[in-house]
Amino acid sequence: MSNAVATPPVDAGAGRTVPAERTGRTTLSMNQAINAALHDALAENPRTLVLGEDVGRLGGVFRVTDGLQAKFGADRVFDTPLAESGILGMSAGLAMAGYHPIPEVQFDGFTYPAINQLVTQIARMNFRTRGALPMPITLRMPSFGGIQSPELHSESLEWLFAHVAGLKVVSPSSPHQAYHLLRHAAQRPDPVVYMEPKSRYWQKGRVDFDEPGNLEGAHVARAGRHLTLVAWGAMVSRCLQAAEAAAEDGLDVEVLDLRWLSPIDADALAASISKTRRAVVVHEAPKTAGLGAEVSQLITERCFGTLKAPVERVTGFDVPFPSGSLENEYIPNIDRILYGIQRVLEYRRG
């Protein structure tokens, strides 16, 4: 058997024709929304490819690529050998050949073997070649914790990606955003890391195909006056819950879904916190040198004069992500977020 030769797609030729644009509204789970976005990206651009471990016949361990190989054929949606550096390095070469690869890393924690290709090659190729060989690569991976996974299946890597010049980083918090942000990312000429909050894959939500909304920058997930919770990915819904709980105490909490972790929307942070004058940043990654430090410092730089208290961070601890039975001790829960809010409210200048 020649591996190089594609198995013909079930629905041959489908990949070459743009299907009727999706219109209207529907209800989808996040993994379905991502699947739809991948489908439409493949349909729209014949040079878009999906590759990774088990993305083909299996449809991905979370079924995110379900049906795509059957529809678009094994030349456009294909399984690779088990090697993450290989997947990203091959994607770089495909981009040089004019393709738009959408590689998947099967789990967040298996990005580490590919960091060299990501940081020294993909992120820098446009720079190194003075724009001659851009890298329109959309790197997807299931991210963050929350589903009691085995070791290294619950990492939060935004702190790493966000530091790397040449990359952009985005994480959706709802099916609607998941669909539109992925379509948007897959049309960019620069590499974008797209972090999928795996604990939200099965959460259903309304997707409006006609009204994507603004796809750049942060998004106010809940407006409020007294304090701003800043979060992304799976922590957005947790912050919304915390805001509800705080509302019972008469506290009107704003929740800012940062969405883009690189570039960070500092204007949105400033707009929110100039109003609320108090902020808590929430993330799952360990605290030290996590992205919360950058977000806090950006807020402080912009709002020093109006801030009532130092920005508080409610985050994972400076420990390896623990095993499932301890995950609720590690991931910020509603109580810890409320304690963080309380510390900010009770802060008195020393």
């Binding site: 016949r57 050998p81 009691q148």
Partner: protein
């Protein structure tokens, strides 16, 4: 290809019976663990049905008083054969502690590894340490070194770390045995789309490493082949690759659905004879076992499973403080403060 030949001298019946009995325990525990997952006792599990001969047979070739084993997440059978407490082993699947609760130094079995290919270089480094120890002690040739045996799958053979490990092992001539269980699949990807050239053992040749291809479903052959590889490594002649051809008869994990990528007919065809059945029939035919013996061994395995299940069920979550305690040998002050803050907030709740 630098193929290592190995003696075909038959193993004594008593030894085969011991291996059969161990394999029976392994099979029963493996089958049960899948049931435990369905019953909500375990959040997940990675079945190894069909790989009992490869795992139990390879450990039988080791001297666990001085060798060291580097497993992946699918080596329950190897861990059992190496003497690991199965309750402590299952702790990783119970989500009690990543890597398991057994003492890696005491058992001489490294913790369960989730990173594909992640342990191979450790087995090279550890084995090189044995060489350095021998050199420092002025040991004579041929050497009599402790050996590192690292497990890897056909899928793992694609990882850069495996290549670096084999090359390092070749350059430093470390007493490392790379024991490959080629079970036909890496989740949904079959070996022929994974392993260019088709043979992991053949890779060994590229590093000048001795290698052996063996029927991984024949426990006697596995013992013989692994003994040859271990003896080679032990003597100071350098590393060896053993590629044991077997078949992953179950799903990749309890959350996998193999029906999406292989049919039952294919499973039946590719899986061939079950290694458990083959060994049992052979021992019955040879008169080494009677039907009653088989039944007794099965009952023992069932009793064993019950003890392990009780242990697993009794296992509560670890105290959250351990999250902080085990990060370092010397805990830094900021982490101590985080632990204190965590305790305060948990106590309040």
């Amino acid at each position: 290809m630098n193929t290592l030949s190995y003696g075909r001298a038959a193993l004594p019946d008593a030894e085969l019976v011991r291996l059969f009995s161990q394999m029976t325990q392994v099979r029963h525990l493996d089958t049960s663990a899948i049931a435990w997952q369905r019953q909500g006792i375990l959040p997940g599990y990675a079945p190894m049905r069909g790989q009992e001969a490869a795992q139990v047979g390879s450990v039988a070739a080791l001297d666990m008083s001085r060798d060291f084993v580097f497993p992946t997440y699918r080596e329950m059978g190897a861990a059992l054969a190496a003497g690991v407490d199965m309750g402590e082993y299952m702790a990783t699947h119970k989500a009690t502690w990543n890597g398991g609760m057994y003492d890696a130094r005491e058992t001489r079995v490294t913790p369960i590894q989730t990173v594909i290919g992640g342990s191979a270089l450790h087995a090279v480094g550890w084995a090189h340490g044995q060489r350095l120890d021998a050199a420092a002690a002025g040991a004579d040739e041929p050497l009599d070194l402790p050996v590192a045996l690292v497990y890897l799958g056909d899928g793992a053979s694609s990882q850069g770390d495996i290549h670096e490990a084999m090359n390092f092992a070749g350059v430093f001539e470390t007493p490392t045995v790379f024991f490959v269980q080629n079970n036909g699949w890496a989740i949904s990807v079959p070996t022929e789309r994974q392993v260019a050239g088709g043979s992991v053992a053949a890779r060994g040749a590229g590093y000048g490493i001795a290698s052996i291809h063996v029927d991984g479903n024949d426990v006697e052959a596995v013992v013989q082949a692994t003994r040859a590889a271990v003896a080679h490594a032990r003597s100071g002649a350098g590393p060896a690759v053993v590629e044991a051809m077997t078949y992953r008869r179950g799903p990749h994990s309890t959350s996998d659905d193999p029906g999406r990528y292989r049919s039952l007919a294919e499973e039946r065809r590719d899986g061939g004879v079950d290694p458990m059945d083959a060994l049992r029939d052979r021992l019955l035919e040879a008169g080494a076992l009677t039907a009653e013996d088989v039944a007794a061994i099965q009952s023992e395995a069932e009793a064993f499973e019950e003890r392990v299940r009780a242990d697993v069920q009794a296992q509560g979550p670890r105290p959250g403080a351990e999250m902080f305690e085990y990060v370092y040998q010397e805990m830094p002050a900021p982490l101590r403060e985080q632990a204190a803050a965590w305790r305060e907030e948990s106590d309040h709740v």
